[in-house]
């Protein structure tokens, strides 16, 4: 599974403060910790409190790129912030994210193409959050069609079914899992799937357990990527073990260490 570490986000106090005080070392430490824990890529988000997101995102990316060349997911709801980040990213970036709204797609798909970036597409639109599998697939098909019409490679598209908190939308869990499986049949080559995991446990009292149980189940439904906290060791172990069960990694007694070591 492709794991994107979520911790460089201005909404977290330590990162918010580091952005404000331009404390590069704090950002770099957070980046390296996530990579050592097994992250394949890092999400970068200045957070809602940033007053200068266009320059803050660049400062964040520059700080991170001084210590690692792992791919970065540039996370913002504002295309102008995303483009600001794309301009200085050294390696192939991931745009996080577009919705299924035509006005968003029309801006972000060309941007992804221009900068040869991968693109996360949320199956959500201004009409609201999808309520079942079919609504998710409809929005997914729209994203895939728009991207494909624009000549964007479908295999670089990551569809997010929008994970809901289990204590709010329990009936949706199966719909979300089924959507992950069916994203694959939308086109050939198939788009990839991704989830922002932590939402599933929002407001529950056993967050880590809910996160890793959902992740393991989603892996069985064919999930390709996830954004989460790689410092949650049990969650990370569950992700690595899922790969093992799905025969994507070769077993050995130290497979957990081997996985983490192999990522460095």
């Amino acid at each position: 599974m492709f794991i994107i570490g979520e911790l460089i986000n201005g909404m977290y106090k330590n990162i918010g403060r580091a952005i404000q005080e331009k404390d590069k070392a704090a950002i770099q430490k957070c980046a390296l910790q996530q990579i050592q824990a097994g992250a394949d890529a890092l999400d970068v988000n200045c957070g809602p409190a940033s007053r200068h997101p266009i320059s803050d995102i660049q400062w964040l990316i520059e700080a991170i790129q001084e210590v690692t060349d792992k791919p970065l997911a540039i996370d913002s709801s504002k295309p102008v912030v995303i483009e600001s980040g794309l301009k200085i990213v050294k390696n192939r970036a991931i745009i996080n994210s577009t919705t299924a709204d035509p006005e968003k797609l029309q801006v972000l798909v060309p941007l992804a193409k221009k900068y040869n970036a991968k693109l996360i597409g949320l199956t959500i639109s201004s009409k609201g959050i999808p309520q079942n599998k079919d609504q998710r697939l409809e929005l997914a098909a729209m994203i895939v069609a728009t991207a494909s019409d624009a000549g964007f490679p479908t295999e670089d598209l990551y569809l997010d079914p929008i994970v809901m908190p289990v204590n709010v939308a329990q009936a949706q869990m199966c719909e979300i899992l089924e959507a992950i499986r069916e994203f694959k049949i939308i086109s050939d080559p198939a788009p990839k799937s991704i989830v922002g995991l932590s939402n599933v446990s929002q407001g529950t009292c056993v967050r880590s357990l809910v996160n890793r149980t959902f992740l393991t189940m989603a892996a069985a439904f064919g999930l390709d990527a996830a954004i989460f906290d790689p410092m949650d060791k049990e969650l990370m172990d569950a992700a690595i073990t899922s790969d093992l069960i799905l025969n994507k990694q070769i077993y050995c007694d130290s497979y957990l260490d081997a996985y983490r070591k192999g990522k460095l």
């Binding site: 070769i250 050995c252 007694d253 081997a258 070591k261 192999g262």
Partner: protein, 319 residues
């Protein structure tokens, strides 16, 4: 119809054997193995930068169990390991040698570490090709002999073996101290092969200095199983599993000449045909299959079999 091509994200690691004068050794040339970016010989999918290498197997004593046909080409030198090695290099144009220190085995001549170290030093003076040095197979004795030989060959960047799951620390420490590469041997078991690579690299020996001996069987003796293990390891390596991305060394000669089909006389089995050619063919056919499975180094015995494989490799790489 358009050919469907696989895209791989990773490569097999490249291992360098032998150090030249400029690099602190005394070898005339060095060998590089591995580095593939695709499955064996799918040239249109990715680079295959290095041709597999064949190492002539040489012993420090006259082998007791080699069949008559195999001994024939070495008849004149078999009792003198240095001349034997020399003959492989000068007459057969060997580009590397694999020296098996069988004489150290307590059941054979029980040679002592200093004696073997002296032999290795002499061998390095006598021949200038890169060396592979293999112990006698008795763990306790190898743990004394191999470090002494590693020291005698310091800076020559040999490939020494074999480290196994229950006995790797002494050899890894010696390889680290004296700048050699290591053979990690597992009993046709991909899980142990991976585990052993982790254990070795945890001691600080880089993955670019490890060669996997997956243990193979000759034609008719589990060759297909060995093939499937090698294929699986290679698929994992190309998909990004660094712990599986080591080149392979295969002891094709040793396994082939153990087969009854290779050594039985024509009197015993008249239907099996000429015994002179049979053993050679058994070794050659086994080696060809291993090349196709992804072998990077073949340790072989009969000069005629080696000649056939060299021709085969030349044709293969020309494609």
């Amino acid at each position: 119809m358009e050919l469907s091509l696989e895209k791989w994200s990773a490569a097999v690691s490249t291992v360098t054997i032998g150090a030249t004068k400029e690099e602190g050794g005394t070898r005339l040339a060095r060998l590089e193995v591995g580095g593939q970016k695709t499955l064996p010989y799918l040239f249109s999918e990715g680079q295959i930068p290095h041709k597999p290498q064949i190492a002539y197997e040489v012993w420090d004593i006259a082998p007791l169990d080699w069949p008559k046909e195999l001994l024939k080409p070495y008849q004149d030198v078999i009792k003198d390991p240095l001349s034997w090695a020399q003959k492989c290099v000068t007459e057969y144009k060997a580009k590397s040698l694999c020296v098996r220190l069988m004489g150290a085995h307590p059941d054979f001549t029980d040679k002592q570490p200093q004696e073997e170290a002296k032999f290795i030093a002499g061998l390095l003076k006598n021949v200038s090709v890169p060396l592979i040095i293999i112990g006698c197979g008795d763990d306790a004795k190898d743990n004394l002999v191999l470090p002494a030989c590693c020291e005698a060959a310091r800076g020559e960047r040999c490939l020494v073996g074999s480290a196994v799951q229950d006995n790797y620390k002494t050899l890894v420490a010696a390889a680290l101290a004296d700048g050699h590469n290591i053979i990690a041997e597992s009993p046709i078991d991909i899980n142990i092969a991976k585990q052993l690579n982790i254990l070795i690299s945890d001691m600080g020996l880089g993955l670019e200095r490890i060669v996997i001996n997956p243990t193979i069987g000759a034609l008719g003796y589990g060759l297909e199983y060995a093939y499937s293990i090698m294929e699986r390891a290679r698929l994992a390596a190309l998909a990004g599993d660094k712990m599986m991305a080591s080149p392979f060394i295969c002891f094709a000669g040793q396994e082939s000449w153990r087969a009854k089909e290779a050594k039985a006389s024509v009197l015993e089995f008249p239907g099996w045909g000429d015994e002179v050619q049979r053993g050679i063919l058994w070794e050659a056919v086994t080696a060809v299959a291993l090349v196709q499975a992804g072998a990077d180094i073949l340790v072989m015995r009969h000069p005629e079999a080696i000649k056939k494989i060299n021709q085969y490799l030349d044709n293969l790489m020309r494609a």
